[in-house]
Each structure stands twice: as C-alpha cells, then as structure tokens.
Symmetry: D4
Subunit: 164 residues, 8 copies
C-alpha cells in the first residue's frame, strides 16, 4: 500500500495533527510524520515533496497555521495529491490559515479541509488510496456505518431525554 | 480508467464548472457532468453518490454557491473522495460557499479548492487517479513543467520590459 | 395541535438545543426531539422530513454547527416551514454555521435565527402555530408582556443604582 | 385566507422586494405592500405591526438594508411571525443588513432569509400559512416538483453539452 | 446644564455601561440611566426619546449588543444627538452590534464609538455639551492634559525598564 | 453660530464629502472645507485642530479612507466633538476605514457614521449645534417631518403599484 | 548602490507591480524585475532569493494574489528585508493575499504594505536603502515635501470650491 | 551602528512589545523604548519621529492596538523605515489594528508584520540595518540556521514519537 505523509510546520501542532496519524493507523495505512517548515526548513520540505512519489507515498497531508504556506509549498514540488489542514493559532483563530491554504492559484491545487480538521484530512487520504483498494473502501464503509450507528444511538438517548 | 463526475448545483454555474470538464478531457480522463441540486433534486444527488463507486467513478467534483451543501450532501452518501468547488455568486462573493463547503464536521471530509477553482478541482481529481496510474502522473509532470516554462517565458518578457 | 420537531445534528448540541424544547413545552406545544445528521444519517433526516407533515408536525427546527447543512437538507424534503439554528462551534464561532444556514438558494427557504438562538427558534415555531391558534397567540402576548415587565423592573433597579 | 404584509424600508428596494409580492400572488395569497421605515416613519411601522393580527394578517415580511432594524422593529410590536429580508446596499454589500436582521436578542425572533432573498421570504410565508391550509400545501408541493423538474431538464441539457 | 441620558438595552450591560455614567459624573454632568429595550419595551424607548429634549436632555447615549437597534430606535424619535455604544456579547463579539449601530441610513445619524466604548461615549457627550459651555471645555482640556501626563510617566517607566 | 469644519484627507473624496458641505449649508450653518492629510500634511491638520475652538468652530467633520487616521489625529488635538466619515476606497470597500475610525482607544472618541455617510455626518453636526440652538432644532424637526412625509408618499405609490 | 528586486508571481500583475518599478527608477535606484512563482517555479524563486545578497541586492519586493506565498517563500531563503505586496485578485478582493502575506510565523518577517500598494512598497525599499544613503534620504524628503505641497494646493482648490 | 526605536502606544503593551526589545538586544543592536501615543501625546510622537534620523536612529518600530494610528503617525513625520506591530486588544482581536496599520495610503508606507508579531518586527529591523552591515547579516544567517536546526530536531522527535 502507498504510504501517507503527515507534515506539520511546527511540533507545537503535534497534538492536533497527531489525530491524523492515529486515524490513518486505525485503517492500517502506513504513515510517516515529519516536521518541515515552509519558512525555516524550506529545502527539507521541497526535497521531501519532490521525492515523495518515488519514495512510496501516495498522499501528503500538510498542516500549518497563520500564513500557512506549507501545503502550497509541498504541492509546488509534487504531483501527488496534497491535503492541507489549516491550524487554529494566533490572533485570527485560523481564518488566515484557511485562506492561505485553500485560495491556491490555478495549476497547483491543495485539497483543503476544515480548520483543525485533522481527522477529516486522514479520512480523505484513506478515500484517495481506496479509489483503487477495495479493502480500504470496505473499511471506510464500515466506519461510515459505525458513525451512523452512533448517531442513531444518540437519537435514542435524546428521544429518551426529551420526548416524554 | 475510473471516471470523474462533475456535479453542479445549477446550470447557471456551467460556464465556470465547464473548465473542470475541459481540463479533465485534456488529460484523457473520462468525465460525466450532471446537474444535481442538494435542495431541488436531493434524491437524484443521493442516488448518484450512493452508486458512483459501483458505476465506475473514482472521484466526484461538486460545485455550488451560497449555502453550498452539494459537496457535503454527496460526501454523505459515498466513500469516494469528493472535491468541492465553492462558486462565487450572490451578495457575499463566495465566502459563504467556501465556509459551507470546507467546514465539514469530523467524519465526512470534502476536499475544498479555491472559490471558482474549477481547473484546480480537475487537477486534483487527476492527481487522485494518478496515485495508481503512472501514465496520468507523467501527464501531470508534463503539465507542471509546461506551466513552469510559461512562467519562465513571462519572466523573460518582464525582464525585457522593465530591466533596461 | 400540530407538533414541533427539534432536530439536532449531534447530541453535543443538546444543552443548547434543549432550550428550544423547554420553551416549546412552556407553551404546551407537543414537541419531539431527534438527532439526525445531514452527513452521518442523511437517510433518516430525509425520511423524517418527507413524512413530517403527514406525521402531524407543523414546524421543524434544525440546529447544526460549522458547515451546517441540516436545516437545508430538511427543507429540501418538506414543504413545512423549517427554522434553522446556527450553532457556535469550531474555530469560527458560528459565522460558518450562520452563512451555511441562511444563504439558501431561491426555492428552498430556511427561517434562520441568531447563532445559538434556540429560545427564539422555539418562539418562532410557536408564532407560526399561533397564526391559526388564538390560544397560543394569547400566550405569546402574555410572554411578551411579561418580558416587558421584566425590562421595566430592570429599569427601576438601574434607576435606583445610578440616578441619585 | 390570512393576508401577508410585505413592508420595505424604502421604495428604492421595490424592484428587489417586488419579487416577494409577485411570488405570493402566484400562490393566490392576498398581499399588501407598504413602505414603512423604522427610522423615518417608526410610528406607522409600529401601528401597522400592532394591529396586523386583528387586521387579518398572518405573516409580515420586512425588507431593509444597512443597519436593517425594520424587521426587528416590526417584531417588537406583534406576535405574528416576522420574516426579515436583508437587502444588499451600501458599501458592505448586505452583510451589515444580514447581521442586523438575524442576530436578534432572545425573546423577539426574526425569521431571516438570505441577502436579497425576496422569493424565499415569500415561499416561507406561504409555508407558514400552509401549516393549516392543505390547498396551499399542495401548491407548494407542485412548485417543489416543478423546480425539481427544471433541475432534471438542466441535467439533461448539461449531459448533452458535456458528456460525449 | 443639559442632562445626559444613558440608556441600555438590558441590565446585563450595566457593568460596562456604568462606566459611562461614572465618567459623566466625574465631569459634574447630570445623568439619568435607564433600561429601555428596542424590542421588549419599544414604547418606553420611543416616549423617552420623543420627550427627551423638552425634559432637559442634551444628549442620549444608547448601548446594546447583537442586532443593536436601540440607538437607531432612539434616534428615530428625537433630533437630539444620539451616541451608540455597540456592546460585545453573543457569538460574534460585537461586530454585529457595531454594524447594526453605525450603518444607519441617510437621515438618521447615530454617533458610534468603539465596541464597549462606554468611557468614550461619555467623553463625546461631554464634548457635545462643552460646545457651548466653556467650563466643561476647560475640564476636558484638564483631563486631556492629565491623560498626556500619564502617558509621559509611562514613557519614563518604560525607558527605565528597557533603556539601559 | 459656531462654524463646522469639513476636513477631507484627499481631494479625491470631494464628491462624496461635498454632500456634507451642501447639507450644512441647507441648514444655514457656516461651514469651512479643507484638505488636510494625517499623513501628508500632519502639521496643518494638527494646527487646525488645536486652534479650531478659538477660531469659532463647534464641530469638526473628518473624512478619510483606508487606514483612516484623520479623524483620530484631529481628535487628538482638540476637545471639540469630532465626527468621522469612513470613505469607501481601495480593495476593502471601506471596512478598513470604518474600523480605523471607530475603534478609538479610551480617552479620545470619534463620533463615527456609516461608510460614505456624509449627509449623516452633517446632520449629526447640526444636531450637536442644535443642543443649544432652538432655531436649528426646529429646522431638524422640519427635515425629519419632511423625510417622514416622503416615506408616506412612497408608501402610497407602492400601495398603488402593488396592492390591487 | 544596492539593487532592488521586484518579483511578481504572475505577469498578469505587471500593470500593478510596474508602479513599484517606476517609482524606484524615479529615485535612481537600480531595479530588476522578475516573474518567479512560489508554486510554478519555486526553484527559481528560491535560487534568486538565496543569491540575492551576493548578487548586489539590498531589498526584495514580492507581489502575489490569493494564497500569496511568494513573499514568504522568498523570505525563507534570504536574510535581506523582503517587502510583500498583496495583490487584489480572485473572489475575495485581496483579503486572502493580505493575510497570507502578513501573518508570517515568528522568525521569518515579511514587511507588508497595503493591498495593491506597489508605490508604497517601492518607497519603503528606498527608505531602507536610505538608512545609510544620505542622498536617497534627501530625495525622500523632497518627495515628502512635494506630496505635502500637492495636498496644500488641493486645500486651496477645495477652499475655493466650497468656502464662499 | 544606527539605533532602533521601539515605540508603544500604551505601557499595557509592554509585555508583548518587550519581545522586540529583547530580540534587538540579542543582536547587539542599540535600542531605545518609548511610550508615545498618537492620541494622548501626539506632539511627543511627532517630535521623536521628526528628529529620529538626526538622533542616530535607523529604524522605528511602532506598536498599537484597535484603531492603531501610531505607526502611521510616526511615518508621517520621518523618512526612516517604520515597522508597525498591530496589537491584539479589544473586542476584535487585532484585525482592526492590522487594517489600521497596513492599509496606508500611497506615499507613506508602514512595514507591517503579523498581529502581535514583535519578534518579527525586531528581526525585520535587524535585516534593514544588515543591508549595509555584514556583521549583522552574518548573525541573521546564524539565527536562521539555528531555527532550521531546531526544526530538524523537532522533526527527529516527531519521527520518534509517531513513526513506528
């Protein structure tokens, strides 16, 4: 199976971004986490991106806050799909990171998820790998069904609590 | 090759969304365009999404404006990767569509591109298919190189124009 | 009397949304609360909406946060009036939920109240039922008068505190 | 049948707000349009609202731009459901009118629709009257089906245009 | 001397709005505080405004949060200068109150100060009264000089702390 | 009668700001217009402000766009009431000018009106002068009544157009 | 004298960015313009930045729109001062470019000017060179005085037009 | 070596702004801190700015919150480069200060850094001085390399934590 890379711009984002790693491992997807900064270690970020495909990666997840250039800097150097997680940090609570990640110019897309959406970034990576992997697709269906079942339980609890 | 679906919420978005179709065709990716509205034909949207994988689709692109629920409504009914294009329309110029598309709750990701980012949505779809298709990956590299070459030509023109 | 449905997208919103249930009960309006998610249990949401009128409901209240599609998804499947409560959650404090709820395209309205406006959603539902129910209208007048009386008391307290 | 009032803050909004009147007439709903300004003729607005129920109105639609107080001022003086249309005007393109209309404090709801959402305001008014009027409900179902049919036609046109 | 009225929409704003009362008293300006709500006691607000000039008021300060209509509702019913204080409350931290207060349509101005700017509202009221009251003008000059002196002391402390 | 100064930061704002001058002249208020820039001629702005009271001014209106410092710079140098008009210009359509004008720190208020609210700035200036000038107060009442009468005419026209 | 580089992300920004080149030439500052894209030719951008100091540059100006990463990408690879011009383009009118440019994380500053502020970017570059170049400083003083003189002329024209 | 001035609008910003002073001292750059307020001590601010160059300063850093006019007021009175730090304070969390600082009109630039970006403001000042000071340039390179090394250590820690 292709690997998924989870890149964060700073290890201060590890708690948030770690959820992406955990989710990928739940699916049995091989994952590799790194700290590469678009501004402090741009060469490491570039080199990793440029070699990611030949190094066996299928998807790259990149998480950064504020003027979040990391996902774009990765995407500039690979043709793999790059998923961007805007991180909530600083005075503007992540709206700067969202716009810096999603508003990419024509030619270099970044697949952006919600602010602090680490779990969804991982699920999206699994969905991408599952396009050609029926086993993963089946696991996604199971998780979807399990989430639906949890919502149905919640419905029963709420009905019990309020509907009398 | 897996097909890519391009769904728009209204045919008034056809000019914008058509660029995604054109880009996909440039890559030789089989594409199918539809008008399904999350609010006017929700059942058609649901059914399409639910059967998309078995019908040979690998990626679904969904474009909508204002309270843009289409991509999320599609994603609720499939485990395929869903790409959302927020369309600029109405009084708020697309910021409503962007937030309605990208801020999905945990469990159901939508891979969001820039407002009116139809070309990037198509490129992202190609990148996703290219994870397991070396031929497509090669075409992406060529397009990337061609874009770089255009930027280098522009640099020469600008140098000619300004640097004397 | 027609019933009012109070649907929440997740039971994590129960504390906030519960105020709507409580307010409806104060008016003696029959109420039924449910957890239906536009993204995790879309079929349950659809079915509930489609059958709500024949099942004796007069109004549906739907509460959700972030890319809040729930009210719109309900409204797509019924001709009953649907009231949307945008819930404050996530990094953007509810502005995403507000725009996702209120900016509905032409043809499918959602009657939107303030962010976290659960009490007002309930009052609006009562007002809707009271269009053809003079008893409810009388109770609304009493509550309005009681709120005015409380404001007058506050005025006296403030006058006492500051005007000497 | 109860009447619907359509109040605009200024006759410069007549083109936009007229769509609400037209839509109501399509449903055969008796409608009365007025210009009452929360700031220039507050007494007229107040008196109209205070007497609306006894004068045979079931719903009041109020449209205003900028610091749009009209819907709230109406709602303060009636227990009828009040629908607010934020009008796009001035430098901020209607986001001021949206927030001024929807963010009502607890106790006095305004059912807010999208910026310039005059048609949806009318449809919402019809939905409210239709809670206890099966004939109107049937007309709403027909219009919903007709909108769906239009979307299906658009789908066929788009398929013709793009899918070959 | 003319009196200044300080009106708040709710006594939950008393702590914040009380600073305006205190500041006015420091200047020896006669002040009267009230709770009048544009939505819960609109008639009291209207009557107070309409009679304020003949009752000896020179300026009216009005403070409210969210869809803050109070200052506008007061201004609609008087030709006295009305000062609006947008109060920070609810999910949007006062940006709704700011726009609802300042974006008044042509013909009915509200002199708006910063969000939670109660002290400045009071100073502005004193400035207005001081246009024709040299004694008050002198007190304003003294306060201005005192504020400058405090800034100069702070400069000396900071120089001591940092410049060595 | 005290004079009103109308200061603009640039003569490119003359068309917009001229409405303030015209409105003041309609009331027979003596007015003096100037171009003083907080950034290009700060000393002229400062000197004008510092001497305005002794030079017979009662109110200063200041209009500027973008990072609109003019009203604040004037207010820093006078104890007269200063009215700020945020001008719509540049990429952000005046929201920058609004925040730069209204969000003044404690101690130095600016009475802010709507973006491009030149007429309201003039009316507010007249209201301020009218606190101690019954003749002006009477003219304000007449204008208010005339505006109400215009709204009533509009109501009749709209009734004619729509209510048949 | 050190040279100033003016880098634009795309030659579609040439009209806007050309003003920076023109302004620099007015001061006799040697200037070199280039098109380097952070996303299409990242290696060219990196190499230019890394060698800029040894190649005789003193300041780098970088202009880009939307998710404007260019200035940050340059700043990551040099210790020269980098000035960022956010360009107005796309649906969000430059607020995305502003936040993407200015909200840089600690360690890698970008000196950001206003949206489309090409002339100011050039003036800032001249100011930086003028720190150690008295001749340039003198030219800046002259330009400042000339701008003041133009404002004074405008004041006289406005006085003529309005003050009679 | 030229000195750097660090001006804050209020000593309540000292904790935040002190980081700029500390960073400058780490580089051995002579620094002078002051409290000058654009609104409370405008004359002191003006005089400092006007004499800064002849008093041996090379760069001025100015930090202020809300309607942050300080950097602009300084820039109006000097031809030295002025760096603005928007401070997070008040209800709007610094977006007002950011726009008030960065959106300067043509002719008077302010080099703006991120909200609360005191360290970056200091680094930018050092970069400016280092244009003509090879020793400082060397220190900047060392700090850049040290930041990169820290990022590499973080990468190793994260790899240890997640990649097994």
């Amino acid at each position: 199976m292709k690997k998924v890379a989870v890149i964060m711009g700073s290890d201060s984002d590890a708690a948030q971004v770690g959820k992406a790693v955990d989710t990928l491992k739940e699916f049995g997807v091989p994952v590799e986490a790194h700290v590469y900064s678009a501004h402090r270690t741009p060469e490491e970020a570039r080199r990793f991106a440029a070699q990611a495909r030949e190094n066996g990666f299928g998807v790259i997840i990149a998480a950064a806050g504020m003027a979040a250039h990391l996902a774009g800097a990765i995407a500039a150097n690979t043709t793999l799909p790059v998923i961007g997680i805007p991180i909530k940090s600083g005075a503007l609570d992540g709206i700067d990171a969202l716009l810096s990640t999603v508003q990419m110019p024509s030619g270099v897309p970044v697949a952006t998820v919600a602010i602090d959406g680490a779990v969804n970034a991982a699920l999206l990576a699994v969905q991408i790998l599952a396009v050609s992997d029926e086993g993963l697709a089946e696991k996604l269906r199971e998780r979807k069904e399990s989430a639906a079942e949890k919502a149905r339980s919640a419905d029963r609890r709420i009905a019990e609590q309020f509907n009398k």
